[in-house]
């Protein structure tokens, strides 16, 4: 690569040396009008034929004979400048070249199909520039977009069904979670790999396409909005630029004490009570020897007279002081440290532009898990001749994920939760066993030395059970642009992306999983004492190899014509894509990582389990898979602008996919949009010195979603072959559901863009309404039909949504102080307007997830009405047919909506952020607050069923009703044994457990100092910036009094501090 860079430098310098001296010398300098950088390789021509090019400093010299000269200054990507220079008047002039697309002070929007100047836009876009994008530092490419994007709601960690770091663009457009995600585009095409493969330092800007006029060009996948990531590119004629970034971040371990498990003393008391009830005594006789807790083992010893009551009391007292969270914090959690380095180079000659970037990430999580990433990206644009240009982009990523230590909550016995009084080490730090599968005492001495140690040691096990995921991705794009006529251009683009990932888990012989399997299938000859291992000694190695190959091909015609006052821009094209995913999983037994040896095992025949004698097969994990998703699309987009005042736009697209079992004529689905804009500022009658921009926009269009369950015939999915008949077996994959129609989303968007008093107040205000028709939802179905999931996908009805996206910016220069602030204010409300069937009752509505009820939000929460605790028994009370009732099972199954309590929306109806930055000389301080209002969440509380069967409880146990009168102070029901499951279920879904989610958070605070060569001439480099950034600083106000983070799933994310360095050469 270094040679390549050198070669480019030579070319640039060579191109700069052309002029020689004669009679009159015409000198000048050409710079870019946008950023004032010198432009190299600019062709400067005089009418009589003398010509030259600029050097790396943008300077040129021409030998001329006349005083008056007509100059033509041209460079690809810039508008040709025609000027007349009278040398008698002036020489050494500086010429400003305007880029072809970018108009003065204008933002451009990249849709992935074209680059449109903002003034011609009719749809709704949010553009994140590079500076804003980099205000939050992190490894991921999408994480940085949270909280800074107008119209986009970052989804709380608590709502896990939408995935990690999910974002909702203008609310939910579907109730089907697996088709809920926005479409992500990198440059021209949908990105099909792992988002972690993209180096965020390669991103120049991001466009969010929020309405139909913006997004419908992307067709069937765009109903939830589109995110277009544009990578950094070189520019024609740009001298070499080198930029180096280094970010060193650290985050404290999570606060495990945020979690509120039942107190150890309380848990011990519960266990003593259960022991007195002879709970689980029968398990002592079971041939599988299930484990018991430490408390139970002590009590069993006491019962058998092996230990005195005093000693037991003493042991229990010791246990009651223990807290397993301390062991997790001491032994497993550590400071998280992430290092990120990025180097980018770019430059260009008149006919070629290039960029090269390298990225290195070295992350160590707070559980010592490793993530390493190396990225390399090279882009090149070559103007082959006047008419033909070639683009070539290649990106390579190498990623490595290595497992770390076990997380809080990930260790538990197979028959319950990890009791809070557990310890992983004794006072000397030696690893203590945890009895997860089998009983203490029984397995301690089992096998008379013929078996491997059968105990599990949490402190040691992760060292021997390691998972590694290696990802390599190669992504190459080649594009040809041909100018057929000045107004007509043709482009063909092709991308191939291939991602290889290898996920492997090595369970060494010392690991519990391996020891357990070997022991289970060990046969000891009682006479000879010989040991026969049916699962061989040695390691167990599982690996899954996956290869993803995605190909996209696009052919497009662009027509751009100005005549008179009008201009017409049309594009039309076709796109074909394929995503092929093949996977292969295998397990090797008796694996020797050194010699790559392994031992075949018999998975066909059954062998008696050493523990129970029950005949079982040795586990067999091998499988193969091949998925192939294909799409073809045809699209067209046209915009007509009259007199720079009025713009009309329209777009249409048809998509088809290879969805299986769908009738052919159902495969095609059209999407369309129309839009108009009015640039008031361009009106002759409009004269105001105060206003620099005023534009009104309106658009309407339709987008859609298709659910893969839309099939006309029963389809089945094959499993592996049956070990009995050696023939394949299958299960029903999809029930015939031919009546299902495409889900449609129609969106109307009205917007105004303005800029007054030269930036003192600028921004945009948008109002939109959405109409979602033929919404898909899983509808409860009588299981007598044979559909055991109990749900089928149906077009259940219609919904409406509307909201405001408001972004206000202000910019002030007060002496040397530059102050910028922006306020993002979003509202979104939706409502199900019509349901085709309305048989939702009790349980279905209260179930976690999203309740579907006519007249209420798509994300509504409902609960059972709460009538307090019974003063006599402490039982929770609800309502049945208007009467206070304790008939929980009737309440659960028959509660009608009228009897339920509507809590509110799970998603905030009002949200956004407030950002501000202050710049004084080289110092810059940036801060952002985020806020979410008008939403609710459900908090956890005690579940007595889980307490008894799992020993997992909530600290609310201490607040439970214990005697008459307690009902005045608490809402936590009394503990009753035997546990009544429906009583727990009623309490868990009752109105008393819901909290207001409203909160304000300090999202980040960045401080930086920049040294510029322009200010400090001695600096050997152009600029250097040093910064410190603090992220996820925490809640500064919240509505709930329970001390809960309304967004956290289990434990809130911890604060993160970054030291950043950026150098421009």
């Amino acid at each position: 690569m270094r040679n390549l860079v050198f070669l480019f430098l030579v070319i640039i310098i060579a191109l700069g040396h052309h002029a020689n001296a004669q009679q009159i010398e015409l000198r000048g300098r050409v710079i870019s009008a946008t950023d004032q950088t010198p432009l190299a390789g600019v062709t400067v021509k005089i009418a009589n034929g003398a010509a030259g090019t600029t050097n790396a400093k943008g300077e040129f010299k021409l030998v001329v004979t006349a005083q008056k000269n007509k100059l033509s200054i041209s460079l690809i990507g810039y508008q040709t400048l025609m000027v007349t220079i009278d040398l008698a008047q002036k020489n050494d002039e500086v010429f400003l070249l305007q880029p072809t697309i970018i108009n003065l002070n204008e933002v451009t929007i990249t849709t992935g199909y074209e680059i449109v100047p903002k003034e011609r836009v009719t749809g709704s876009f949010t553009v994140i520039d590079n500076k804003t994008y980099n205000q939050q530092i992190g490894t991921g490419v999408l994480e940085r977009l949270r909280f800074i994007t107008n119209g986009v709601a970052p989804v709380a960690d608590r709502i896990t069904i939408l995935g990690d770091n999910a974002m909702l663009i203008r609310g939910m457009s579907t109730l089907t979670q697996n088709i809920q995600r926005p479409l992500v585009i990198v440059d021209n095409f949908e990105y099909q790999g792992d988002y972690n493969n993209i180096n965020p330092n390669d991103i120049e800007s991001v466009s969010f396409l929020k309405d139909a006029a913006a997004g419908s060009i992307w067709g069937a996948k765009a109903a939830n909005g589109v995110i277009v990531l544009t990578t950094k590119k070189g520019k024609y004629g740009q001298p070499l630029k080198i930029n180096f970034t280094s970010n060193l971040s650290t985050a404290a371990p999570p606060d495990l004490y945020y979690d509120k498990p039942i107190a150890a003393a309380d848990l011990i008391a519960v266990e003593q009570f259960l022991f007195a009830q002879k709970y689980r005594f029968t398990d002592t006789a079971r041939s599988t020897h299930p484990p018991f807790s430490q408390v139970y083992e002590l009590l069993f010893k006491q019962k058998a007279g092996q230990i005195t009551s005093a000693a037991v009391a003493d042991e229990l007292r010791k246990l009651s002081t223990k807290d397993v969270r301390a062991d997790f914090a001491n032994y497993f959690y550590q400071q998280e440290i992430n290092q990120q380095y990025a180097l980018s180079l770019s430059g260009g000659s008149p006919v070629m532009a290039w960029n090269l970037s390298l990225g290195v990430d070295r992350n160590k999580s707070n559980l010592a898990a490793t993530y390493n990433r190396n990225t390399l990206r090279f882009g090149n644009q070559i103007q082959l001749n006047k008419a033909l240009a070639l683009n070539l982009d290649i990106a390579f990523t190498n990623g490595y994920n290595g497992s770390g230590k076990p997380a809080y909550g990930s260790i538990s016995p197979t028959n319950g939760a990890l009791p809070v009084y557990s310890s992983f080490a004794d006072v000397n730090g030696n690893a203590l066993p945890l009895y997860t599968n089998y009983r203490q005492g029984y397995i301690d001495n089992l096998g008379a030395g013929k078996l491997l140690d059968w105990r599990y040691y949490p402190l040691e096990d992760y060292k021997y059970a390691t998972t590694v995921n290696r990802i390599n991705e190669l992504n190459a794009t080649i594009g040809l642009n041909y100018t057929i006529l000045p107004a007509l251009k043709a482009a063909v683009n092709y991308r191939i992306a291939r991602q290889w990932s290898g996920l492997s888990t090595l369970n060494a012989e010392q690991s519990y999983l391996t020891r357990n399997l070997i022991n289970t299938f060990t046969q000891v000859n009682t006479i000879t004492g010989l040991v026969n291992y049916k699962v061989p000694r040695g390691d167990i190695y599982d690996h899954t190899d996956e290869v993803m190959t995605a190909q996209n091909l696009r052919a497009q015609l662009n027509y751009d014509k100005h005549w008179g006052l009008g201009e017409l821009h049309v594009l039309a094209g076709t796109e074909w894509s394929e995503r092929l995913l093949s996977s292969n999983t295998q397990r090797l037994y008796g694996y020797d990582a050194e010699m790559l040896g392994f031992t075949p095992v018999d998975v066909i025949n059954t062998y008696p389990s050493y523990m129970s004698g029950s005949l079982t097969n040795i586990p067999y994990l091998d499988s193969r898979g091949e998925l192939n998703n294909r799409f073809t699309s045809y699209y067209a987009n046209a915009a007509y602008t009259f007199d720079k005042r009025y713009t009309l736009s329209a777009s249409a697209r048809r998509d088809a996919s290879n969805l299986f079992g769908v009738a052919t004529n159902d495969r095609w689905e059209p999407f369309w949009s129309v839009g108009a804009s009015w640039n008031v500022l361009q009106e002759k009658w409009f004269k105001s010195a105060a206003i620099q921009e005023l534009k009104l926009r309106a658009s309407y269009g339709k987008q859609g979603n298709v659910d893969p369950k839309k099939v006309a015939v029963t389809t089945i999915a094959y499993g592996n072959n049956s070990i009995y008949t050696q023939t394949p077996w299958s299960q029903v994959a999809n029930y015939p559901n031919p009546d299902l129609k495409w889900e449609q989303v129609g969106m109307l968007n009205l917007g105004i863009d303005f800029n007054a008093w030269k930036g003192k107040l600028s921004g945009s205000i948008e109002y939109y309404t959405k109409k979602m028709s033929d919404l898909y939802a899983l509808v409860a179905i009588d299981r007598t039909t044979g559909i055991s999931s109990g749900t089928v996908t149906r077009n259940i009805g219609q919904a409406k949504g509307h909201g405001w996206d408001i972004e206000l910016k202000t910019s002030h220069q007060i002496g040397q102080l530059n102050w910028n602030a922006d306020l993002i204010l979003n509202t979104y409300t939706d409502r199900i307007t019509k349901l085709n069937q309305n048989n939702f009752t009790g349980r279905e509505v209260m179930a976690t997830g999203f309740s579907i009820v006519e007249g209420y939000s798509l994300s509504s929460l409902f609960a059972f009405k709460w009538a307090g605790l019974d003063p006599q028994t402490g039982d929770p009370m609800g309502y049945l047919n208007g009467q206070v009732s304790k008939d929980y099972s009737a309440i659960l199954t028959t509660t009608k909506l009228a009897d339920a309590t509507y809590i509110g929306s799970q998603f905030p109806k009002l949200f956004g952020s407030l950002g501000s930055s202050w710049r004084y000389k080289g110092f810059e301080l940036t801060a952002r607050l985020s806020y979410k209002f008008a939403y609710f969440f459900k908090r956890n509380s005690i579940d007595y069923g889980a307490l008894v069967t799992q020993l997992g409880g909530h600290a609310d146990y201490a607040k439970r009703w214990q005697k008459s009168g307690d009902e005045l102070y608490t809402n936590v029901p009394s503990f009753v044994y035997p546990v009544i499951a429906v009583r727990d279920e009623f309490y868990r879904n009752s109105a008393v457990l819901f909290e207001k989610g409203d909160h304000i958070r300090l999202q980040y605070l960045n401080l930086s100092y920049t040294l510029n060569q322009s200010a400090y001439k001695w600096l050997p480099i152009k600029a250097v910036r040093l910064g410190i950034a603090a992220n996820k600083l925490g809640i500064i106000w919240k509505a709930n009094k329970a001390g809960l983070d309304p967004e956290a799933n289990t434990i809130p994310r911890s604060q993160n501090i970054t030291a950043a360095l950026n150098i421009n050469f």
């Binding site: 015609l557 023939t727 077996w729 109990g790």
Partner: protein
């Protein structure tokens, strides 16, 4: 430049034409529209669903075991209720209920029956085609027989046309509402399906994990026995025994490893068709009924090969599944017992005794068995019924037996004593039809069983 436009148009046209072909590729190699006999067969070979998740209701409700109050209290609510034949909340709602399991099997059978007649290679694979169809009919019939024995009253010829049975779903359209058919219609459907299956199934299956002719005959015999029709029961028992009659000698035989923890091997020679139940939570906490345990003679090998002791909780080891699962498929020993019972009911005292002795001989220590003798048919019947209970313990048949026997005057009252409270089901009580899961009643509006 026209050239360029023309070629672009040409390419677009070609693209449109190639498009349908491009989209014909399957999105998932493992997805298939079941259209050949072989591909439809795969649905029935889903053994982990169709053979290994049998419902355990008939165990939890039967009187072959007892439970202490402490153990009963430690059960979850549904199992507590089921154990005392409670009128509500006896089953979990949703995906885990036996109602769901059985109707999912019915649906699978219906999918096969919906596709099989249109199989594209039907004519070239006629034997395989018949086999697949037979398997589906067999699956549907045995699922309905199970459903009827749990959620409808025992068969009674006098009232069967008016007694509420279970909804009969015979096609794949999930939009058809579920309506309860009469008990008579239900049993006729079972018999028709089984007869049709018996005609189509092979004499000997590829593996006993798949049904066969003798399996269909055995189920026909079971169905007629439940309907108290000994002549038909006898007919089908005989037909089944013609094809498969091996009995294992418990002293030593293929299929037996008396030293092993679980002495009976899977797929042993007596197994006609293998299905098994997971070990139910109720039985895990129960002890075998004392009286039943004591009824095994000292030299009866079953006493030690089936049971560890009378109070050995949750470790019944007499299952034919070779492990902790409870075998509930038809086996030859059940055929002998059905034959003996039918003969006795048809007043053939000697025939019944011979058949019974033939079986029991192989269950005693060699040389210790004194053949049963009796003076009256009633005596023989009592012997057969006791042997039936001892031999087929924990195969999920006892509940069915109590139901049918009470219909013909056996006068069996089942009783649980818990916490000083007696829970009883008297003969022919309405509670012999267990409560339909509440969510099903709520969603379909079908009538709940009477109390």
């Amino acid at each position: 430049m026209k050239k360029w436009i023309n070629s672009f148009l040409l390419i677009s046209t070609l693209a449109l034409m190639g498009c349908e072909k491009f989209l014909e590729e399957k999105p998932n190699k493992k997805l298939v529209v079941p259209s050949t006999v072989a591909s439809i067969q795969t649905l029935l070979d889903d053994y982990s669903t169709l053979n290994q998740k049998e419902v355990t209701t008939g165990i939890s409700t039967c009187d072959d075991f007892t439970m202490s109050t402490a153990n009963w209290l430690s059960l979850d609510q549904n199992n507590r209720n089921l154990y005392v034949w409670s009128a509500n909340n006896a089953f979990v709602t949703g995906a885990g209920s036996p109602w769901t399991t059985l109707y999912a099997n019915v649906y699978k059978a219906n999918v096969v029956l919906d596709r099989i007649d249109d199989a594209i290679d039907r004519t070239t694979n006629l034997t395989a085609w018949g086999n697949v169809k037979g398997q589906a009919l067999f699956l549907r019939a045995r699922s309905y027989l199970n459903l009827l024995s749990i959620w409808s009253l025992p068969y009674d010829q006098a009232t069967s046309t008016t007694d509420m049975g279970v909804p009969l779903r015979l096609d794949v359209n999930f939009n058809t509402p579920s309506v309860r058919a009469s008990v008579e219609v239900g049993y006729q459907q079972v018999l028709n399906d089984l007869r049709a299956a018996a005609a189509l199934l092979p004499n000997y299956p590829v593996h006993v994990i798949r049904p066969s002719k003798p399996a269909a005959y055995a189920f026909l015999a079971r169905a007629f026995l439940t309907m108290n029709k000994p002549d038909s029961c006898l007919k089908y028992t005989a037909l089944a025994l013609q094809l498969k009659s091996n009995l294992m000698d418990y002293n030593a035989s293929e299929g037996i490893n008396s030293k092993a923890e679980y002495p009976f091997l899977r797929f042993n020679p007596e197994v006609i068709f293998e299905t098994y139940m997971p070990y139910p939570a109720t039985l895990q906490k129960g002890d075998i009924d004392k009286e039943l345990y004591d009824s095994y003679a000292t030299n009866d090998l079953r006493k030690t090969m089936y049971h560890r002791s009378a109070t050995a909780v949750g470790i019944f080891k007499g299952t034919y599944s070779g492990g902790t699962f409870l075998f509930n498929g038809p086996a030859t020993d059940e055929l002998y017992l059905m034959k003996a019972e039918s003969l006795a009911r048809l007043e053939d005292k000697e025939g019944a005794l011979t058949t019974l002795n033939e079986l029991v001989l192989k269950r005693f220590k060699t040389g210790t068995f004194v053949p049963y003798t009796a003076t009256t048919v009633a005596e023989v019947l009592q012997m057969v019924l006791l042997e039936r209970r001892k031999e087929l313990v924990f195969r999920g048949l006892r509940w069915m037996d109590v139901r049918r026997l009470n219909k013909i005057g056996a006068n069996i009252t089942m009783k649980r004593q818990l916490n000083g409270v007696d829970y009883l089901v008297k003969p022919n009580e309405l509670r012999y039809a267990l409560p339909i899961p509440e969510d099903i009643v709520e969603l379909t509006g079908m009538p709940q069983n009477y109390r």
